[in-house]
Symmetry: C2
Subunit: 362 residues, 2 copies
DNA sequence: CTGTTAGCGCTTTCAA
DNA sequence: TTGAAAGCGCTAACAG
């Protein structure tokens, strides 16, 4: 009974097909019908089980609406045919995709992977798949990704966007949107408040007798950067420290390395970097110039992206990126469920993690 | 964790809607119709442009079939309404999803992000979106993800799968599949041959006078682990080194840290670790026990996941994960295009990168 | 409880 | 070059 149906339409199958089919049977033990393009449809199952198509549908979505035996019979027929519900068709019909998108500026920046992972896990718990987008720190690209995704996802999470407030707001009207580390009015967000940690860092340096420090800033369109910059400024003023700025526009090891000359030229004895990657670059540059850390110079990073993994281990500000990823997803799902724009902000505070790259001023 | 401020703007939902709509007009100047569920449809554009729905469709998919003015008129109407083609509906109709999935064991393992990024970029070049899956090093989870994705993607890339050959083969029948760092007969794959690099590493240690070394192995289901293990074994035998094994079943900093006692107990003077994360953990553990590196003990990692970023910088084996990601995608797209299972294997060779964690045997 | 009947938004023959 | 119409596979009223 299994194999006959497809042969009836006459055309001799190529021998290649034959081989494939045999293998199929060995591996899965399913009927030939399943070999077709996409797969078995609801109609075939309906016919096989002798019920209406809607009943098959219900067997999967609202089994409680059917008699147990019917469900049983349908499921049996389905598995006999190797039926798998078509996600896409379902989405078209319900308007629910069961997908969310996550867009980050750079997957390879160690700040993001833990966040991505957390988001992925959380989405999975609610049976959502996640699209990942990498904007390469480019607003244009970000905009483009947003557009491409928005047709097939329930909602979007935008992490550390480099896009303008206006464009973000525009997209937020098309799809539920949740922001991470960006504050746009009316849009739900998760903010990692590195300000608190940065303030502690500044205090920490002052305690060690540093009087002249520099903040090595990150991307100009980054909310986090603005926030951190403001925090050092505020704290320095309060503590009477001399503060100057050096800019490393892209957060990377390279950028930090290249910033070292400028940093040293400022006559500072300590630097607070936009992030750990930059800090690590600075450390490398300092080493290359024979400046010892923390003996002659102190460095603090931000985001605790590398953990205690490096030597000397980096004094940094905790990041909470894992919680942020998880929260963003659950916030998004909540918004989706309530179908209302909850203008919520979760703020995660941070603190200084003292390790080995800071010490007494020389 | 200090205090998390949760601030929710508490306007009643109804009045918010009014405000939202007004804002909409300000920001985008679009019609209220666009506010509806998903967005503007082909029919609305058709009406606006005074043409048939099919023409609107053609304006996007086969503009050459239409007169230039008609296309123009349609595009104009479309942008006036803010029309965006519905990816899902299109997929249902054509059977082409325009998506690929990438499944990795652990996004947060620094080996993968560069690969993910490369894959993402390459897919993007051909206008494909990528689903990201994180299996958490769990075969079950991997299987599950495979199932969930397969209904909405063109093809799947499985990086360093922990799944059995049988299950992989089974999935390969349902969807085009490309493997990274796994060798299953009949399935196209990209292999990073760390064997060459590992052999060099062993030679390097022998040159430094080490006679007793240990290989700290990774996940038992990992193809790369088998390959590396075999490579050290082969090289050690050839060089007449004494070799023992310690197992760190999950590749992580933690696992490396915990393996140190066992390593020291073997009486070895050098260790080759499954990957850089593990190596870094070993380094930390050694430091904790006051064993100096490379003075008293040499360590070599694998995958060059951390670059020269750490201090002392890790002697390791190059990884080529970026090329692997890129290749895997282009291989997959090629398979999709030709609709034939090209049983291709790309093999990327590696080499030793000598940095600062290896030295003369004590 | 279950079947019938419309669609979801788009593509794709087939005619005109 | 364009339009009409028939689906893609599934869900969701609305009747029985």
């Amino acid at each position: 009974m299994r194999c006959n149906r497809l042969h009836v339409n006459g055309l001799p199958a190529t021998s290649r097909r034959g081989i494939l089919r045999e293998w199929w049977h060995k591996v899965r033990g399913q009927t030939v019908a399943a070999e077709r393009k996409g797969g078995v449809t609801i109609s075939q199952v309906a016919k096989e089980a002798g019920v209406a198509r809607s009943s098959v549908s219900r067997a999967y979505t609202r089994p409680d609406m059917l008699s147990p035996e019917t469900v049983e019979r349908i499921k049996a027929a389905a598995s006999r045919l190797g039926y798998v519900p078509n996600h896409t068709a379902r989405a078209l019909s319900t308007g629910r995709y069961g997908n969310v998108a996550l867009i980050v500026p750079d997957v390879a920046n160690p700040f993001f992977p833990p966040m991505i992972r957390a988001a992925q896990v959380e989405a999975d718990r609610s049976d959502f798949c996640v699209f990942l987008g990498n904007s390469d720190e480019d607003p244009q690209k970000e905009d483009q990704l947003l557009g491409r995704f928005s047709g097939q996802v329930e909602g979007i999470i935008l992490a550390s966007p480099r896009l303008s407030d206006e464009r973000i707001a525009a997209h937020a009207l098309l799809r539920p949107l949740v922001l991470i580390n960006r504050d746009v009015k009316g849009i739900p967000k998760v903010l990692i408040d590195s300000g608190t940690g940065i303030a502690e860092a500044t205090q920490h340096l002052a305690d060690f007798g540093h009087r002249n420090i520099v903040y090595v800033s990150g991307p100009s369109t980054s909310w986090s950067n603005k926030q951190r910059r403001a925090a050092v400024r505020r704290a320095s003023r309060k503590l009477g420290l001399e503060l100057s700025f050096v800019s490393a526009s892209v957060p990377s090891f390279e950028a930090g390395l290249q910033a070292v000359d400028a940093i040293l030229a400022k006559g500072a004895t300590a630097a607070i970097a936009f992030d750990d990657l930059t800090a690590q670059g600075i450390l490398a540059g300092l080493g290359k110039r024979g400046v010892s850390v923390p003996g002659e110079f102190s460095v603090v990073g931000c985001d605790d992206a590398l953990g205690p993994l490096t030597v000397p281990s980096l004094t940094t500000v905790s990041s909470r990126s894992i919680e942020a990823g998880k929260l963003a997803v659950s916030l998004l799902l909540e918004v989706l469920e309530s179908r209302a724009v909850r203008d919520a902000s979760y703020v995660l505070e941070t603190h200084l993690i003292v390790r080995s790259t800071t010490g007494k001023a020389p």
